[in-house]
Amino acid sequence: MTDTAAAPTSSGPINIDKVVIRFAGDSGDGMQLTGDRFTSVSAGFGNDLSTMPDFPAEIRAPAGTLAGVSAFQVHISDHDITTPGDAPDVLVAMNPAALRAELAIVRPSGTVILNSDTFDERNLKKAGYVEDPRHDGTLAGHTVYEVPMSSLTVESVKDLGVKPRDADRSKNFFALGLISWMYTRPVEPTVAWITKRFASRPQVANANLAAFRAGHAFGETAELFDHPYEVKPAHLPSGTYTNITGNTALAWGLVAAGQQAGLPIFLGSYPITPASDILHELSKHKRFGIRTFQAEDEIAGIGAAIGAAFGGHLGVTTTSGPGLSLKAEALGLAVSLELPLLLVDIQRGGPSTGLPTKTEAADLMQAIYGRHGEAPLPVLAARSPADCFDAAIEAVRIAVTYRTPVILLSDGYLANGAEPWRLPDVATLPTIEPDFATGTNHVDEDGNETFQPYKRDPETLARPWAVPGTPGLMHRVGGIEKADGTGNISYDPRNHEKMVHLRADKVAGIARDYPATEVEGDEDAAVLVLGWGSTWGSIGAAVKQLRADGHKVARCHLTHLFPLPHDLGDVLRRFERVLVPEMNLGQLSRLVRAEYLVDATSISKVQGLPFTGGEIEAHILDALRALGPSDGAQEALARTEARLATTPAPPAGVTLAVAGADAEDA
């Protein structure tokens, strides 16, 4: 199952360093729940992990069809990992459709566990199989276990008075029990969870417990499996950990940012996949004074957030691609009003409805440029599920400090994927200063003290934030061009040009706050991999693997996409080749080419799926080969080729533990 399997002891499990398991079944089979439980137990056990739910857009596509297949991939390891794994080592397929949909990505010689009860003529036909794949060579090379999960589940609950049709619904817990045995997961946490979760429906709780225990016992007693495996806890930095998805981390980041700024949060949002979970999460936290407003449409969502921002709240709106388009006009208003506002875009496959449950990162250009007129605003992107927390705080800091709308980009992969997160010490989180205007800020020609709503801070160019209720600071804002300083309507051509420049300069100045751009890996490498967003994990896995083979490779990952860091051009020009993997047709690569005249190469993937580490590795290898021989390169290449020859699907889940380097040094 892995490269480093130790010899079995007489009775105990075999230690392996990592495993990638993919649970797949019908939408109604509860595979997301099964995967989620396996993940939680593994997290509690101390493994490092990374997950990727992969579900269809249809809530319940016809049972047994390919369209209805829902999958959950989890990668657990005894060391630091950053991706859910390239190729599953184990596929659990609850029906023929799940097997047909998922088999292609299972690693050669991987393990396939089938619910054999479902492999009847009807289900095979629904899945599009002409022959039974169990007998026609389809599964050649794989280790296949056929387990009659449905009938064993029904058998296990027969004394509980559960109707056979309902009994079958517990089969996902049978599968969970079996896999829990195979990978030596503790049983108690799942038992406790089932008991609590189904407390109000004791019969369901009992059926699920019985099925779970039956699955576990089956693994132990059936002479199908030689021995279980175990993935030991990972050696992670010490601290308190929780398992977290990107959307939850982002919601918690907003809660934290509100607290650090001393601002009540107002979320105006319209339900849209895959962003809705942020609305769901924040709507629970009324104790923090958070107001969540489910608006009548996307435009009202941002409109209400702008209204709340005018009132001195932290206005936030959350959406996905189509919603970003709908909010574009209101974003322009927010640019003109110069009010703090955060728009969170959980990107998904586009255009239009596109692939609503699948990931993509093709909204970058729209985020940066997708407004009429000269309407610059800062754009940031989170890089991992846990990083969504920090990215949210940084986005709010910029919005509040500079009185500007900010777009924070995440994507479906980060949103639903999970990883262990070492909790920060809340006392060390950055403080955000709203600095509301409390009095006049100007003396007019007649010596009267007045308030100028567009008189700027000389350093940040931010305007005062004077909220209704403050005596003496009454003022009007609007979308019509404003006179510099007074904010009154102005059609003066020179004033418009000045205001356009002032707004642009203000946003450009945000880059002054950034830390120096970090380059990880080999400072003297010829190849730099430049990334943004959720490609972080896969790029890291690829770079780590190639460096382990002896190649020299560097990587740089951007959080701030607009304005770009001041030192980025210098960083990029230090490398002979710059590769830019993106889940779009080359949006960042086009930007850096335009901005820095750097011959960046786009690596593109738009399949609704994240890059695997192996895919990125292959592109880096191509670049390394093209550069020709240099010191040690031939040996490294030989090592890589030897490795790839023995593991056709490059193993993922390798960590990026390259030393951080100061970009200024090179």
Binding site: S40, A43, G44, G46, L236, P237, S238, G239, T240, Y241, T242, N243, T248, W252, V255, A256, Q259, P264, F266, G268, H285, K286, R287, F288, G289, I290, R291, F293, A295, I299, A300, G303, I306, G307, A308, F310, G311, G312, H313, G315, E329, A330, G332, L333, L337, L423, P424, V426, P468, G469, T470, G472, M474, H475, R476, V477, G478, G479, N488, I489
Partner: protein
């Protein structure tokens, strides 16, 4: 909202220093004057008052009020005002919109603001034309209207703004016009007093692109015969001598009769507080347009839970039940383990 300890204000306190730039003779001037004169009477403070508007001639209104204000984007004022009013229930939030802004591009936000019953006062200046874009038909223009965009006559069936507001279950619905300051102010005073979303349609003359659209009913000489004042608890009657009245026919329709024919006892007695909106709806359908006898005044004023107050109550209840949120508790709420 009324701070009795606040010093009294005068009209001067409510007028901004900006030059008013509507066309000379526009009905908007009289509405602005009526509002600026009314505000001191309401006992409210300029710094506690916010006017939010969209786009259109009427939407320039906030610039001329010495309050907090936002001239936003086309049609979105009710959504923006909703966010502001929910975030800041201590403020007095007004929305100024028009028939194009509020009923066409912003129709969705208007009906949803009304159904939620958030505490905002919405003034819809209805001039039955697009003025700022120079004279296209609007969603309240009559069928057959010849405009720049409909040289052969408009085919669009118009909205009845009051029927629409009542259909959205607005808790306060009224109509007034720009030529009667007293009626206008009294109607706005009632709208402002109302707790929840208040919707006021104001017939407003656009003397450039749709001059005289309401003359048949609002001009001094026609008013007596063609405006039907609605007074809560009173039989509905009108005419210079009060000789005409309104009855409910056996189909549930409001109909105009001669009082002499039916007797005063048969007249419909106006009840703005009736919980079901059918009476108000019937009255909103009485006139096919502002060219026949038309009711003005408060059609409906009922108590319904106000939205922002309920939002605040949920927050307060959560904090009372479990105490204010603790970030460190939140971060560990999903289960943790130590390394």
């Amino acid at each position: 909202m009324t701070d009795t300890a606040s010093p009294a204000t005068t009209r001067k306190d409510w007028a901004s220093d900006q030059e008013v730039r509507w066309c000379p003779g526009c009905g908007d001037y009289s509405i602005l004057t009526a509002v600026q004169l009314l505000m001191p009477d309401l006992g409210v403070r300029p710094e506690q008052t916010v006017f939010v508007s969209g786009i259109g001639c009427s939407s320039r209104f906030p610039y001329y009020m010495n309050t907090y204000g936002m001239h936003s984007i086309h049609g979105r004022a009710p959504a923006i005002a909703t966010g502001l009013a929910v975030a800041r229930p201590d403020l007095d939030v007004w929305v100024v919109t028009g028939d194009g802004d509020g009923l066409s591009i912003g129709g969705n936000h208007l009906i949803h603001a009304l159904r939620r019953n958030v505490d905002i006062t919405i003034l819809l200046f209805n001039n039955q034309i697009y003025g700022l874009t120079k004279g296209q038909f609007s969603p309240t223009s009559e069928v057959g209207k010849v405009t720049k965009s409909t040289p052969f006559g408009s085919l669009d069936h118009p909205f009845n703004p009051l029927s629409l507001a009542l259909g959205a279950e607005a808790s306060f619905v009224a109509r007034t016009h720009d030529l009667d300051r007293q009626h206008l102010q009294e109607t706005l005073r009632r709208a402002h007093e109302h707790r929840g979303a208040a919707f006021v349609e104001i017939y407003q003359n656009c003397n450039v692109f749709n001059d005289g659209a309401f003359d048949t009913i609002t001009s001094k000489q026609n008013r007596g015969a063609n405006l039907i004042p609605l007074v809560h608890g009173q039989p509905i009657r009108f005419g210079d001598e009060g000789e005409r009245g309104v009855v409910m026919d056996d189909q549930g329709r409001a109909a105009i009769v001669d009082v002499a024919d039916v007797g005063e006892g048969a007249l419909l007695v106006h009840d703005e507080e009736r919980p079901d909106p059918s009476l108000a709806f019937a009255l909103s359908r009485l006139a096919p347009g502002p060219t026949a006898p038309t009711p003005v005044g408060v059609f409906r004023a009922v108590e319904r839970a106000e939205y922002a107050e309920q939002v605040s109550a949920q927050l307060a209840a959560a904090q009372t039940d479990a105490g204010p949120g603790e970030l460190s508790q939140l971060l560990t709420s999903g289960g943790t383990w130590e390394v």
